[in-house]
């Protein structure tokens, strides 16, 4: 093992981790406001990536426009899903919405597979971000550095929105005590659809950023959603800071797994298993997650 390899692995871990952070942030916001575990989150991530790819294929829309348009379109789709289906089940056991979003994820994924096939579609980074950058011990693809910085900047912005604005205050209050918040004169239900759309748009944004890093495929969402639940459990369900920190942590764990060998035993093949071992350890030590609070009321 040398410095170059380690630096590259750390950066690869951060790239992965920043996608996890972006996606689990959306999951956390949605869970907080709706008490819905959105299993379709990975599908929306995939639709974001496909959105960017389709916009480029069909209308030569550049990356910098797709980064706005695809999340916007997918976010509106999410709002429609909330309005037409999720809302109808919201008064029932949360399990119903879990099953619903799981079904939506399967349907969307298979529809995309029928239409576009299983083969990965390449999506080029924008011209300005091609090539490599000197990061000291190694050269690293410029676009991937952008992906880390951009994703973390978005996370920071979301944190600001939630911690420092009036709307964020309403989201926090509704997350903690939905009924009391209504009794204090706040129209919580008015914000449910926009918040769901916002969380979904974050997933799609993750997809757009991921498109030039990984190939665009209909199954990319299914691959990431399982990891995301590990991230959410590690971070603490519904915790904003937890989502971001755990996202990065899981990305780094996965990357570390790829270069650590124990007695000739290559852990890289067990990357996902390693993540779930980490999850099990966190659950044993802190059942509510690193940043979680024991659920009140």
């Amino acid at each position: 093992m040398n410095g170059t390899l380690i630096a590259i692995q750390v950066f690869d871990g951060l790239v992965k981790g920043s996608f996890y952070a972006l996606l689990s942030l959306g999951l956390a916001v949605i869970f907080g406001m709706l008490r819905v575990v959105n299993f379709a989150h990975g599908a929306f991530y995939m639709l974001g990536a496909f959105g960017a790819w389709l916009l480029a294929q069909q209308w030569q829309v550049p990356f910098w426009a797709a980064i706005v348009l695809a999340p916007l379109g997918v976010g509106l789709l999410g709002m429609a899903l909330e309005r037409t289906l999720i809302r109808r089940l919201s008064h029932l056991d949360p399990l119903y919405n879990f099953l619903l979003t799981f079904g939506v994820a399967l349907a969307v994924q298979d529809a995309m597979r029928l239409k576009y096939g299983i083969q990965g579609k390449p999506y080029m980074p924008p011209e300005q971000l091609r090539g490599v950058t000197d990061i000291g011990p190694a050269f690293y693809p410029t676009y991937r550095i952008f992906a880390i910085v951009f994703a973390l900047a978005v996370c920071l912005l979301v944190w600001y929105l939630i911690e420092r604005t009036r709307l964020g205050m309403i989201v926090r209050a509704a997350t903690e005590r939905p009924d009391l918040t209504r009794a204090l004169g706040v129209n919580v239900d008015r914000w449910v659809t926009p918040v769901f759309g916002f969380g979904v748009a974050l997933a799609a944004l993750g997809g757009v950023i991921a498109a030039p890093v990984y190939q665009v495929t209909p199954v990319m969402g299914a691959d990431i959603i399982i990891i995301l639940f590990a991230v959410v459990v590690i971070g603490g369900l519904g915790s904003i800071a937890g989502a971001v920190v755990a996202g990065l942590l899981v990305g780094l764990i996965a990357a570390a797994g790829q270069i650590i060998e124990i007695g000739g035993f290559d852990l890289g093949r067990y990357e996902n298993a390693l993540i779930f071992v980490a999850m099990a350890i966190v659950l044993l030590a802190r059942p509510a997650g690193l940043f979680g609070h024991a659920e009140a009321g």
């Binding site: 009036r166 205050m169 309403i170 926090r172 209050a173 997350t175 903690e176 005590r177 009924d179 009391l180 918040t181 209504r182 009794a183 204090l184 004169g185 706040v186 129209n187 919580v188 239900d189 609070h293 009140a296």
Partner: protein
């Protein structure tokens, strides 16, 4: 009764099959303070939860300022001037003290300003950036009441505000509620502390097994306090 601010007429409520309230009829006039007195499980908290709309399994008429509100969502009721202080105080852990105060919209003509609240409770100003639940129990109670005064609510629904408070805090609370009362704020108060109840309230409803069994003046409560305490099992 033309000057009734709150008119509750034959309110009944259930938890599943079990009936918790039977034909409750309660009136609170403009600027009046009224208590609900009764032992635990008599239905006092359920009554308040029905009024604000958090307990939905209910039937009966509820009029606020002449307007029927029994079918409105909780936030609409609050916006018509109901200020709800739940029995657990309802302070948010993820909101700062000041955010706890600023969360509800202002709904009445005469809301307390932050400055006025901070002048009355210097401690809340000191701790305004801290998370709400880092306050002591008594401070949280003051915060919960300050929050609905800042809304400018016309009628406060207070669920046992003195519970667990040290005597000195009970005195402060009494002074605060009397100040709100002078300003014309009406209150429907659940209270076990009869001395406190008679100090701030004008009339008292005695509740037992989900029914109103008596209506008393403060004078009558003082005269019959032994009997009432016995009834409450205190």
């Amino acid at each position: 009764m033309p000057d009734a601010l709150l008119a509750v007429d034959n309110l009944s409520a259930w938890y599943g099959e079990a009936q918790a309230l039977r034909d409750i009829t309660v009136t609170v006039r403009e600027g009046e303070t009224v208590t609900l007195v009764g032992r635990n499980g008599a239905g006092k908290t359920t009554t308040l939860r029905c009024l604000i709309g958090l307990h939905r399994q209910a039937r009966g008429r509820i009029a606020l300022g002449g307007r029927e509100i029994a079918t409105l969502a909780p936030h609409r009721r609050a916006r018509l001037g109901l200020g709800y202080v739940p029995d657990d105080r309802g302070i948010y852990a993820t909101l700062s003290v000041e955010e706890n105060l600023l969360l509800p919209p202002t709904v009445g003509p005469d809301p307390w300003s932050l400055d006025r609240i901070y002048a009355a409770f210097p401690r809340l100003r000191e701790r305004r950036r801290a998370n709400g639940t880092t306050l002591s129990g008594g401070e949280q109670q003051m915060l919960a009441i300050a929050r609905v005064l800042r809304m400018g609510a016309r009628l406060l629904l207070l669920d046992e505000p003195t519970e667990g408070l040290a005597p000195v805090l009970v005195q402060q609370l009494e002074a605060l509620l009397l100040e709100a009362k002078r300003q014309g704020v009406a209150m429907l108060l659940i209270e076990q502390n009869l001395r406190f109840a008679t100090a701030v309230a004008d009339r008292h409803y005695l509740l037992a097994l989900g029914q109103i069994v008596d209506e008393l003046t403060s004078e009558q409560v003082r005269e019959r306090s032994h009997q009432i305490l016995e009834h409450m099992g205190v």
